[in-house]
Assembly symmetry: C2
DNA sequence: GCAGCTATTATAACCAGGTACTAATAGTAT
DNA sequence: ATACTATTAGTACCTGGTTATAATAGCTGC
């Protein structure tokens, strides 16, 4: 009977996957010890499961984190700006992924939604250095994992003398408003800045 | 004359450091090609500069990113809460590190300062699920790389009927106030939540 | 000019943690 | 008995190094 002998193999495959997921730094030798099979079996199993060798796993992790580090400057703006009319309006899209949600509920953490809006409010201001001075925000409904958050910013006034701009941002999922915020942005012309925008 | 022959070595050391910093995935063989010296010289140089071999570098990067992934759940609260009196007040400390600042200016990005305050405002509410409904915030002065931001939250009112709490948060660097915020937190008793707190 | 020094290069043995391939063995199904 | 799968064993080879030992080149001080 095939099932009798095949089950242990599949079980071992699951165990092996779990062990490597739990500790990606485990060697085949250690897996041999824990699974009580020969090192060849471990390697055949990895082959079948398309799990790369330890060094390859470490390399992939290192590359992933290195790419993340390199792309950090891009994150100075949270969300992808898809339309921008300086000193007038702007639109950005931000997809809520696993790293943005409150793990227990799958609800996006507030500061990510805020960050998208703040980024856009700063970006829409046509100035070298623009920093958020104040913000008055309202989370209208929760944003969930997988949802695409579309933020629209409108510049309401620019008072040239004191270098302040008022920007309103509304964020939507589909046609539901999820967030609204009124930002006051300092359009710093170089001197002492007030805050860390995005 | 010693300086004549020693200079090229120090220059090469600088070049080598720079090359590895630019691309940590470079092999000694490739360094040999770029520096026009033997592979032994490259290895002696790495020894002198205490730069680990490629595989060790990748392992360190992988471990660092893996630790970061594992500690993510801890980041559900931004900042270390050092004092907490539920429904009354709380204090948290958050050190501004390189990953939190606007790279051009070394000024902390607004959403990190906001996130610390928001986290604390949510944490101080003695409820299973607490979500930010609205926030009225003001960035008083910029917070810079290396500064320790101390947030103090005070619960101002709890209206049991509609499950709302008002929380004030003030953040300081030393004795300078850098941020203030008025939060309205929903103390969700299980039904439809409004926002993604922290 | 020659010992003494540093810097560099060469050579060889060895290592971890594998891959790739071949072969043997055990169990079981038909 | 035959065929098939699963497992184990063994060997050669690979990358990207370490470690140690020795040879060579270039200059220095005297």
């Amino acid at each position: 009977m095939r099932t009798i002998e095949r089950l242990p193999k599949r079980q071992r495959h699951q165990q092996l996957s779990r062990l490597i997921e739990e500790n990606p730094f485990i060697t085949d030798r250690e897996l041999t010890r824990q699974l009580k099979v020969s090192i060849q079996t471990v390697r055949l199993d990895r082959m079948e499961l398309a799990i790369p060798e330890l060094r390859e796993r470490m390399k992939l992790m290192a590359e992933r984190s290195y790419d993340a580090v390199r792309s950090l400057p891009l994150h100075e703006v949270i969300g992808d700006i898809v339309d921008l009319q300086l000193d007038r309006s702007g639109i950005s899209i931000f997809e809520i992924r696993a790293e943005h949600v409150f793990s227990r509920t799958g609800i996006a953490r507030g500061h990510h939604v805020f960050a998208q809006a703040n980024s856009l409010a700063v970006a829409v201001i046509n100035e070298e250095i623009a920093l958020t001075a104040t913000a008055d925000i309202r989370f209208v409904r929760s944003v969930k994992l997988g949802e695409k958050c579309i933020a629209k910013a409108y510049v309401r006034s620019i008072s040239g003398e004191r270098s302040k701009a008022k920007v309103e941002v509304f964020s939507y999922v589909g046609d539901e408003m999820v967030f609204q915020g009124h930002f006051v942005i300092y359009r710093s012309t170089g001197e002492s800045a007030i805050e860390g925008g995005i």
